[in-house]
Symmetry: C2
Subunit: 233 residues, 2 copies
C-alpha cells in the first residue's frame, strides 16, 4: 500500500473514465469524481447536479484530502459533444451544456492540481483534435468550450502554482470508439477510431513516468496499425 | 431618416459603449443592449439580471425586430476584467463572472448578427491585447473568457450563417483610459492608454465602410502620437 501511487480521475463514469480506472486499478489507489459511482474506484465523489462548481468545490477538496494528502496523477476525461451553429435558436442551451461538461471539469482538475498534485506529478486534460486549425461552425458550443480547455492547458504548463517538476499533457482525441459513437456513425470504419483502452494504456505509461513528453505537450491521438500514436503539435 | 444606418451596441452602458453611442448618434439610429439605460440611444433593451441568456434571447430578438428589421453594424463592447489565479479558493466565482461579462455578450452579438446583420454589415467583437502570446496565470478567468471570444471571432469570419459581404473585426485593447483604470493604476502614464473616444472613432470609420480591414482581422490597439493605431496580428 505504501508504494502504491494515487490517481484522481475526473469524469470516472464516462467511457474513457471507466477505462482509465480499469487500467490503473491493479496497482494504483483511485479516487473518482463524477456524476455517478464507479465501483472499481477506491473512492467516489459524486457531484451534486443542482450545485455550481463554486458551491461544491470546498466539499470536493475535503473529501479528496480525507482519501489522500496528495495525488501522483490527476486525469480529467470528463467531456461531451453537441453539434449546432451560432444561428440556432437554442444556441445558448447547447453552449451552456458544452461549457458545463468540458470547461468546468477541466478548471476543477487544474485547480485541484495546484492543491493536491505531488512534485513531479502528472496533470492530463482532454482537448479536441477535431477543432485544431478548423473553424467549428457546425459545433460552435463544443468548439468554444474546447478552445478554453486548450488555453487552460497552456497556462497550467507554465503556472507557478503547479508543483515542481510536474507535467501537463493535453490529449486531443478525434473520434473515440464508444457505443454512442458507433450508433451515431454506423457507416464509419471503426478501426480508424481510438479505443478507450488504448488511450488509457497511453495515459498509464505516462502516469508511471515512462516515455513522458515535455510539459505543455498537446498530443493528437492518431490511429496507426490498430494502435494509438500521439502526434505532438 | 431613410438614409440613416442602424447600429446595435451590446454593452451600451460601459465606458466604451457610452463613447460609441455618443460618437455614432449624430447620423446613426442606435439600439443599445445593456444592464441599464443609455439616454443617448434611440432604443434600449435592458437585460434582466436574474435570467440566463437562453431565457432572455427571444425577447431581445423581438425587441430588436420591432426597432429595425436589420442592422448595418453590431458592436459588442461589453466586458470586464478580474485578476486571480487558478489556485484561488474563489476561482470559480471569478471565472463565472468573467464568463458572464465577456463570453455571453459576444455569443449574443454573433447570434444576433446571423439573424439581423445586413449584407456587407460589420460585426465587431472585443478581445484582449494583453493575452496574445501571454500565459495568463494572474488573470485565469479573464484569459479563458477572452480566448473563447477570439475563437468565436475566427469562426464567425468564415461562418456560412453570416450575411454576404459582411466583415468581422476583433479589437484587442490593452489598457483603456477609464476612470476605473486610472484609479487602479494611478502611477501609470495615461498617455500610453487608448481613450474610449479614439477607439469609437476607429469603429465609426470602419462601420461607415471606410478603410476597413479584411474580415477575420484582429486589431491590436496600440497608441502612437496620441492616437490609436491598429496593428493587425
Amino acid at each position: 500500500m505504501a508504494s502504491q501511487k494515487t490517481l484522481l480521475v475526473i469524469g470516472g463514469c464516462g467511457n474513457l473514465g471507466r477505462s482509465v480506472i480499469s487500467k490503473f486499478k491493479s496497482n494504483w489507489n483511485i479516487a473518482s469524481i463524477g456524476l455517478n459511482n464507479n465501483n472499481e474506484s477506491n473512492k467516489n465523489i459524486i457531484l451534486p447536479q443542482n450545485q455550481s462548481a463554486s458551491q461544491y468545490v470546498n466539499e470536493v477538496k475535503q473529501q479528496l484530502k480525507s482519501f489522500s494528502s496528495s495525488y501522483d496523477a490527476i486525469i480529467c476525461v470528463a467531456g461531451g459533444w453537441n453539434g449546432g451553429s451560432i444561428k440556432d435558436s437554442n444556441v445558448f442551451e447547447t453552449y451552456h451544456r458544452m461549457h458545463s461538461v468540458n470547461v468546468i471539469p477541466s478548471i476543477l482538475a487544474a485547480h485541484l492540481s495546484t492543491h493536491f498534485l505531488n512534485k513531479n506529478g502528472l496533470l492530463v486534460l482532454t482537448g479536441a483534435g477535431g477543432i485544431i486549425n478548423n473553424p467549428c461552425h457546425d459545433m460552435i458550443g463544443y468548439g468554444l468550450s474546447k478552445v478554453a480547455v486548450h488555453s487552460l492547458a497552456s497556462t497550467m504548463a507554465v503556472s507557478k502554482d503547479m508543483p515542481e517538476g510536474s507535467t501537463v499533457i493535453t490529449i486531443l482525441p478525434k473520434v473515440i470508439d464508444t457505443p454512442q459513437n458507433r450508433e451515431a456513425m454506423p457507416d464509419s470504419d471503426f478501426n480508424t477510431w481510438a479505443k478507450p483502452e488504448q488511450i488509457s494504456g497511453l495515459l498509464k505509461m505516462w502516469a508511471e513516468g515512462n516515455n513522458l513528453p515535455k510539459t505543455g505537450s498537446f498530443a493528437m491521438l492518431n490511429v496507426q496499425n490498430g494502435s494509438v500514436v500521439p502526434e505532438y503539435i
